[in-house]
Subunit: 185 residues, 2 copies
Amino acid sequence: MPSRRPRSAGPSVSVLRLGHRAGRDPRLTTHVALTARALGAERLYLHPPDAALASRVDAVGRTWGGRFEVVGAPDWRAVVRQFDGGVVHLTMYGEPVAQRLPMLRRQRRLLLVVGGAKVPADVYQRADWNIAVGHQPHSEVAALAVVLTGLRGVPGPGAWPGARRAVVPQARGKRVAGVPTAESA
Amino acid sequence: MPSRRPRSAGPSVSVLRLGHRAGRDPRLTTHVALTARALGAERLYLHPPDAALASRVDAVGRTWGGRFEVVGAPDWRAVVRQFDGGVVHLTMYGEPVAQRLPMLRRQRRLLLVVGGAKVPADVYQRADWNIAVGHQPHSEVAALAVVLTGLRGVPGPGAWPGARRAVVPQARGKRVAGVPTAESA
C-alpha cells in the first residue's frame, strides 16, 4: 500500500516549547514533542536546544514515518518574531479556547507556544493571542493536544510517508504491519 | 459570587493510571492527574499508590476548588472489575476515537485507563473498548485530554466549588481573583 498520511484540513502548525530542562524533565518534553508530531504539527522549536531529545524523536519518525522535525531554538524570541503566521500562547490565564477556535481554524499557519510552570513575562505580549484550555492548572501536553485536535482533528489510521511500520487498529490487542520500503519493494 | 463549576453534559468520568513510577516520573503522573481534574474527571485511581502525589494534587484542589480526588489502587484489576460503568483503555493500537466517541458520549459513567509505554497485556481484554487517539506513539496525557474534551467539552471560566482563587480570563497577562469563602464572608 502506498504511504499516505491522513490529514484533515486546518492550519499548518509549528510548536515552540519554552523552558525545557534537559536534566530534569526530558520525558515531559518528549511527550510535548510526540504529541505535536502525532496530532499533525510539522515541527517543534525547542528552547533551550537538546540534541539528545531531538535525536530520540527523529528515531520515532524513522520507524513511523512523517516529516516532523525538532529544531533547537537558542533564541526563542527570534523564532516568534520571524514566524510567518499567527502566534498563540497557551496559558490558563488566557481567553477561553472555545471563543477563539473558529478564528484560529481560518489561519494559514500557526505557532503554538507552550511553557512549563513559569514562562518569561514578555511571551504574553509577543503572542498574537493568549488562549486557555480551561482555567485550571494542568499540563502543557494536554493543552497542546486539545488545541491541535481542535485545529486539525485526530489523524486517522494508515501508514505515514516513509514509515517502516504502521498500526492496524484492533478492538483487542496489538497489530503492527511492516510497510514495504523503496529498497525492499 | 456563588461558586459554580461550569460543566458541560457528558458521562461522569474516572481515570485509572497504570504503571506509575513514583521514583522516575512523578511529574508525568502529576500531569495525568491535573489534566483529569482540569478537564472534568471526578477521580484518579493510581497504580501503584503514591501518597505524596495525592497530597500535591489535593493541595491544588484546596486552592482552585472542585471535588477531584486521587485514590491509591494497589489492585488495579479490582478497580476495573468493580467499576460501575464502561471501561475504556486508551492505546495507539485501538479503534479510532472518532468512530467510538458518539457511542461513548451516551454512556452514564466511564473509566478511562491510561498506561505508560508498557501495560499489562490483560488490560486489552479487561477493557470494554480499546480506543486510539491517532495511531502514532505519543502521550497518555495527550490521549486523556483529547478524549475527556471529546466527552465533556472544555470547562468554561468561573470559580469551582470551594475555590479560594479563580482565573479571570485576559487577552494579555495574568489575573487571578480571590473568592470569598464561608469563613471570610
